[in-house]
């Protein structure tokens, strides 16, 4: 069983449309756990209004983090067994991320999975980010269109289980304390 996760945060104008993910649609028939979300700018503003109304500091951070985004697309497929998607599916996505402006900035490779983060820059600012993660029983695609503020995204650390970026040489006890969600 393979898990495949793709998270895409795209540059500020229409990259979600340029990224063709329709070939993944056939996977929906192979799983009973599918998440499909498409949030345009209007819905993002609408939802952000409620999020900030929460008056919860964490919610405010989320609101700040999504402030510059124009579209979020999520596709998530969870499979009951291996091999429900083919390596070719993954390759097709990677092929689209090799165009001008895209660069892979991080990769975490494990025995059965691989996660990569790609950035697309536009002039001075970071225009978008792509994360592709492959694991045994899950396929998830998230595409975010808009200008992403990595600092604000980093401030979500802890809110959604994101461990904050830490100094690897900190004492173990301090590290454990910070790992607490």
């Amino acid at each position: 069983m393979r898990t495949f996760t793709l998270l895409v945060c795209l540059a500020s104008f229409g990259l979600a449309q340029q990224l063709d993910l329709k070939f993944l649609d056939h996977l929906a028939g192979k799983t009973d756990e599918v998440v499909t979300l498409t949030l345009g700018e209007d819905l993002l503003k609408l939802g952000a209004g409620l999020i900030v109304a929460d008056k919860d500091p964490d919610s405010r951070k989320v609101k700040d983090a999504i402030g510059g985004l124009r579209q979020i697309l999520v596709r998530s497929y969870k499979f009951k067994q291996d091999g429900e998607y083919s390596p070719a599916d993954v390759d097709k996505i990677y092929a689209q991320l090799k165009g001008p402006g895209w660069s892979q900035v991080l990769e975490a490779r494990e025995k059965k999975g691989r996660t990569t983060i790609h950035m697309r820059t536009s002039q001075n600012a970071a225009g978008g980010m792509v994360i592709v993660s492959a694991e045994p029983r899950e396929l998830t695609v998230v595409a975010i269109t808009g200008s992403i503020d990595m600092e604000k995204l980093g401030q979500l650390g802890g809110n959604f289980g994101i461990p904050e970026v830490k100094d690897a040489k900190k004492p173990a006890a301090k590290q454990e304390e910070e790992d607490l969600l």
């Binding site: 996760t5 819905l43 939802g47 999020i51 975490a108 959604f160 690897a168």
Partner: protein, 106 residues
């Protein structure tokens, strides 16, 4: 000391405070629609009900629109949070893996 045995003992199942099942069932009952009452009262009461319905229908449209909008916003909010959670988990996974590899190399 058998550490794992001690852990099993410390983490045994625990009964909730007395009356837990009743409190859950009370919440279940509150969620059930109550049987409709068909008892028809005196005429003045019927007029009162009719008047109330007219007032309700006059204000209902606006209320309904607000409610629809609110529901739409709530749905958007949930979707945003779900999307951000997926995003955050994947980034967290990368960070953790990189951190672990970095620690192993050191």
């Amino acid at each position: 000391m058998d550490f794992e045995q001690e852990l099993k003992r410390a983490l045994g199942r625990q009964q909730p405070p007395a009356g837990f099942a009743q409190r859950v069932m009370a919440r279940v009952e509150r969620r059930r629609p109550s049987p409709a009452s068909y008892r028809i009262g005196p005429r003045w009461a019927q007029w009162a009900v009719a008047a109330s319905l007219i007032v309700a229908s006059a204000t209902g449209t606006s209320w309904y629109r607000q409610r629809q909008e609110r529901a739409r916003a709530e749905e958007a909010r949930q979707q945003i949070l779900l999307a951000m959670r997926v995003t955050a988990e994947k980034i967290g996974h990368v960070q953790q893996t990189i951190k672990r590899i970095s620690l192993e190399e050191n």
